[in-house]
Symmetry: C2
């Protein structure tokens, strides 16, 4: 498991990416992250919902309640046009970050 404070700053992008693919609810996203990373990263519940709030406040996502569930009622999230644009910027930025960090990680 990688430390969370090192993923910090990429969380918005990760969540946005999953919602980009299709509308999803919190618990589902949480499981999906664990699945895709082979449990190498698990987002904390409280963190996840904090991300949702932030993204919604910034109008990068919108939410609505679903009608079926296997427990508490599901709040689905949908990416906005703004959110899609923002995600694409983030991907560009990631390439840059990688280059920069690599400078200091290579050659010892």
């Amino acid at each position: 498991m990688v430390r969370s404070d090192i993923i910090r700053g990429h969380l918005d992008a990760i969540i946005l990416r999953l919602i980009y693919e299709k509308d999803q609810y919190g618990y589902e996203i949480s499981k999906e992250i664990s699945l895709r990373t082979n449990d190498r990263f698990q987002i904390k519940e409280a963190t996840l919902y904090a991300v949702f709030q932030r993204l919604e406040r910034r109008e990068l996502i919108e939410s609505y309640f679903g009608d079926i569930s296997h427990g508490g009622k599901r709040r689905y999230y949908k990416i906005t046009k703004l959110g899609k644009a923002y995600f694409k910027e983030t991907v560009e930025e990631w390439q840059e970050i990688k280059e920069i960090i690599n400078i200091f990680m290579e050659g010892i």
Copy 2:
């Protein structure tokens, strides 16, 4: 210029790396980071000294005063054995982080 909150979590490693190469003082490290990244990243002064304090508290670096200067007196930092070990771990971790983040950045 990349946002700092996205480099966050890698700062300790970056500083450690530079001190690994040779003993250096704060101002020098600050300039070196700007130089190596072609000004794509500049560490803020207050942040840099906060990093030093943290690393020293964790015994990953040690400090001593230099005798010559072109201004205020220089405090040099030296990496410890523990610091070297920690840096090497960090490099391993970075490979993992890259893989994980890439999962969510590829294919859209």
